[in-house]
């Protein structure tokens, strides 16, 4: 099937197998390997991308469903090699260990912080309850989000 999709502001037109997952399309066809797949069935959230601005699990979507839509991945967060405030906060607050889950957290948070600019710690935890971190840097992630919003340590 011919699919036209805009990824991180760049338009792509490809002939794709209907069964190709959106995550595989991003990773293999576009070499945007920042989007990771952890559980393969929508539980861990590592593959979260922005679909028309809203967080979505790219492992639960087919690439053909993205036809005519906009997809945002972690590679699109940084502006000309400068980290976004959220990315910088993740680094400074040590909100990651192995980093495999990190892109999913960042994408979920990008949408969340756009809609909720000044969240409290409980709101942050609630918003991130669909993203799993196995090295379990949860505490530092909450700190990073607070830091990105200009708050001191919660």
């Amino acid at each position: 099937m011919i699919v036209e999709v805009e990824v991180n502001g760049k338009r792509h037109r490809r002939d794709l197998e209907p069964r190709l997952l959106l995550s595989d399309f991003l990773r293999q066809d576009l070499q945007l390997t920042g989007t990771h797949v952890g559980c393969e069935h929508g539980v861990c959230g590592a593959c979260t991308v922005l679909f028309d601005g809203e967080p979505a699990r790219s492992c639960l979507m087919l690439a053909v469903q993205a036809d005519g839509h906009k997809v945002g991945t972690v590679e699109g967060l940084a502006v000309v090699n400068a980290l976004s405030p959220l990315q910088a906060a993740f680094r400074e607050a040590h909100a990651l260990q192995c980093g495999f889950c990190t892109p999913g957290f960042l994408m979920t948070l990008t949408a969340f912080l756009r809609d909720t600019p000044n969240p409290g710690p409980l709101e942050i935890r609630e918003a991130l309850s669909g993203n799993l971190c196995r090295c379990t840097g949860y505490q530092h992630i909450v700190e990073a989000v607070s830091r990105a919003c200009g708050h001191p340590r919660p």
Binding site: F90, F100, R134
Partner: protein
């Protein structure tokens, strides 16, 4: 408070004196501060390439054919349909017809195809005929006297009984004895990045990108498996998505693509899916302990008699340390390994310790109640003497104050209403202490510095330790230092496992950096009108110790090197690192007696790890360890169908992991002991949280809690069992 007894001081080497970790007061410390990880920008931007992200030109994809049966004999393998499928380039027989598969997920064969979906399709087309054989899906089934012989060397293997002291005298001295059976369950590692590799040959040389905890170990194992020279294998692992002990063996997911790549003349990638990961990438063995123990009227432990068993799957052991930490002067222990038809165990963060800790710490709370002592008091009476590597008593007292232990109620929350609260404590220990590490340091004339070490970063932050140590030693700015790890072409380092990575490589980096600094002093001393030994380095400058105003900025000093860089090597030596850590943890929970749901409300972890190199990294290890152990207590559980022997939850939906909202505020107190040198911290924090939580649940409910996990239905069953046995309402 007891004073620590002095440790025997080993004879320090010349380098240990010359490059000791101590920093003179005229220089700023880098070590022990909070340095953000150097690979942070790569990881938050998606630039970090994990093995799973590696793609090579012309790369094929391999997929394993695995046994659906827990035990069967392979009668025949028919590849004809698979070979004819679109995109298929080759097939491989891993287990020959006539041999047996011993567990669900045991590898039988593999196919390689142009794309991953094609490889999956083709793997399904491989026709394997099996003769299904008897199997065990539980320890109890394998231990039946009339059980069929499933494992040729015996379904069980009893170890030597260990006995110390006089057991009869110990029980005679007891005012109270307790008999109970405790158990913990099997969990799997669940690395977010599954086991994977990409193998590519160039003539007789193999380059393997492997998600591994040891690039050098992997290289040696691969060479051994393929019967080729180690010098012809290069293993690369720049970033990895967790290992937790499961990525120390070069097994099928590496050897299959290595062999197929050679046969097919193209790079081959193999990535396990989540189900394969649960079935065949290791697990933490189960543990059972039937214990009889005695305690005197004044709370001294007198005797411990334990019969223990557990399974590490189809042919692997399941031993664990018991009794754990606390001193039973008279004790006996007999352990039996039990084999069942599941995937094999692999080391999982502090192998054996969480199990031994659970049995002992749960027992102690029950004994404390028999004597009528506060459980913390009973522990303080029975700990080994305080020493720098055995600080539990001091930490318990510290923690009790900080946590508010005096607010703990006696066993059983008497408050009316369905929500009960409780507190528990638990201790941990770990040896650690690596001895394998080498490092190379190069100072370039432009002031940039290259530090190389063939270790690898599981996610713990190993890469960041290179600039932290080199930066302080050389006095160079951190942003001038480039760290290279994760490549077996770099100087040798041991596996990142057993908390040995950091104490293995830190001394080598320190010595190599120290030598490079001294060589730099020799080359720039004349410019400062001083002798090399009169110079010092720190805060981005080289200066004269006696007259710090006579100094050169780092880059200006390096410029004096002209064209010839400075190179220096270092290897692990004694005097920079040591072994043995101690720690304690406190947990507070609420338990809903109507739903059985346990919520952890607070955790305090007090942990030492010798010299803290980077506070952020060390703290992060404790947070991660605590939450991993909380998972062990409340969420994770590999569930087998007793009828078919297959795993019922080989996914991340029904195999539960704690999320953000399941995790409480965790307070970490890191005890810095710079005089002890570097000690690893990966394992100890994950030992004791589960038992602190379980004892807190027991404290809340006033019912015996003797097995994990504390899933709601099991909590309700424990309450019911206690009520029905006449124990009164919880």
């Amino acid at each position: 408070m007891q004073q620590p007894t002095p440790q025997p001081t080993p004879q320090p080497t010349e380098n240990a004196t010359k490059y000791a970790w101590t920093v003179p007061p005229d220089r700023t410390r880098v070590i022990g501060t909070s340095v953000p990880r150097v690979d942070g920008p790569d990881k938050v931007s998606g630039r970090a390439k994990y093995t799973y992200d590696i793609a090579r030109p012309g790369m094929l994809h391999a997929r394993a054919v695995r046994s659906p049966h827990p035990h069967a004999r392979i009668v025949s393998i028919d590849f004809s349909a698979a070979k004819a499928a679109p995109g298929v380039r080759g097939v491989l027989t891993w287990k020959d017809p006539g041999t047996e598969v011993m567990y669900q997920g045991d590898v039988v064969a593999a196919v390689a195809a142009d794309t991953e979906p094609q490889a999956r399709d083709a793997a399904r087309l491989v026709r394997v005929e099996y003769e299904v054989l008897p199997f065990f899906s539980s320890e109890a089934a394998a231990m039946q006297p009339d059980a069929p012989v499933v494992f040729p060397n015996g379904n069980t293997q009893a170890g030597q009984t260990q006995e110390t002291g006089d057991l009869a005298a110990g029980f005679a001295a007891a005012a109270h004895t307790l008999e109970a059976t405790y158990s913990t369950h099997v969990i799997t590692h669940v690395c977010l990045e599954s086991h994977c590799s990409v193998c590519e040959w160039n003539g007789d040389q193999l380059t393997a990108w492997v998600s591994t905890q040891g690039v050098h170990a992997s290289k040696q194992q691969i060479a051994g498996a393929l019967k080729i020279d180690q010098a012809n294998v290069r293993v690369i692992c720049q970033y990895m998505g967790g290992g937790f002990g499961s990525k120390v063996t070069a097994d099928a997911p590496i050897i299959i693509p290595a062999r197929m790549s050679k046969d097919l003349g193209a790079p081959v990638k193999m990535v396990l899916d989540r189900k394969e990961e649960h079935l065949d990438s290791g697990n933490r063995p189960s543990a059972f302990a039937r214990v009889r123990a005695g305690v005197s009227a004044d709370g001294m432990l007198t005797a411990f008699d334990g019969v223990t068993w557990g399974t590490g799957g189809a042919g692997q052991g399941a031993n664990f340390p018991l009794p754990y930490i606390y001193q039973f002067p008279n004790r006996r222990r007999a352990h039996t390994n039990v084999y069942i038809n599941t995937g094999l165990q692999r080391p999982m963060r502090a192998p054996g310790h969480p199990q031994g800790c659970f049995v002992t710490e749960m027992l102690l709370d029950e004994l404390a109640d028999l004597v009528g002592l506060d459980p913390l008091e009973l522990r303080l009476k029975n700990l080994p003497p305080t020493a720098p590597d055995a600080m539990w008593a001091e930490y318990y007292r510290m923690g009790a104050k900080q946590f508010g232990w005096d607010r703990r109620h006696p066993t059983g929350d008497r408050n009316p209403g369905p929500i009960k609260t409780g507190m528990g404590v638990s201790a941990n220990q770990w040896g650690g202490g690596g001895r394998a590490g080498a490092a190379h340091v190069r100072i370039q004339p432009d002031g940039s510095v290259l530090v190389q070490c063939g270790s690898q970063d599981l996610g713990t932050g190993t890469r960041t330790l290179l600039p932290v140590i080199a930066g302080e030693t050389l006095g160079a700015p951190l942003d001038a230092i480039r760290a290279e790890i994760g490549d077996s072409n770099l100087p040798f380092a041991g596996v990142s496992g057993g908390s040995t990575a950091t104490p293995g490589i830190a001394p080598a980096i320190r010595i190599a950096s120290g030598r490079a600094r001294d060589a730099l002093f020799a080359r720039v001393a004349s410019a400062l009108d001083a002798a090399p030994e009169e110079l010092a380095a720190g805060d981005g400058r080289i200066f004269v110790k006696a007259a710090p105003e006579r100094s050169l900025a780092w880059r200006a000093a390096c410029k004096l090197l002209g064209q010839e860089p400075i190179t220096a090597d270092g290897q692990w030596e004694p005097g920079f690192s040591s072994v043995n850590t101690s720690g304690v943890q406190f947990a507070e929970v609420t338990v809903d007696t109507e739903t059985g749901i346990v919520k952890v409300t607070r955790i305090l972890a007090i942990q030492d790890c010798g010299l803290v190199l980077d506070r952020l990294l060390a703290e992060s290890q404790v947070y991660g360890g605590v939450i991993g152990s909380l998972n062990f207590a409340l969420f994770e559980d590999r569930t087998l169908d007793p009828r078919t022997g297959v795993m019922l939850n080989p996914n991340m939906e029904h195999y539960l992991l704690a999320g953000m909202t399941d995790v409480p505020q965790i307070d970490v107190v890191l005890m810095d002991m710079p005089e002890r040198g570097v000690i690893g911290i990966g394992e100890p924090p994950t030992v004791s949280t589960a038992s602190a939580i379980a004892n807190a649940v027991r404290n809340a409910l006033g019912v015996p809690i003797r097995s994990l996990p504390l899933h709601p239905h099991r909590v309700l069953a424990a309450i019911d069992a206690h009520t029905n046995s006449g124990g009164g309402p919880a």
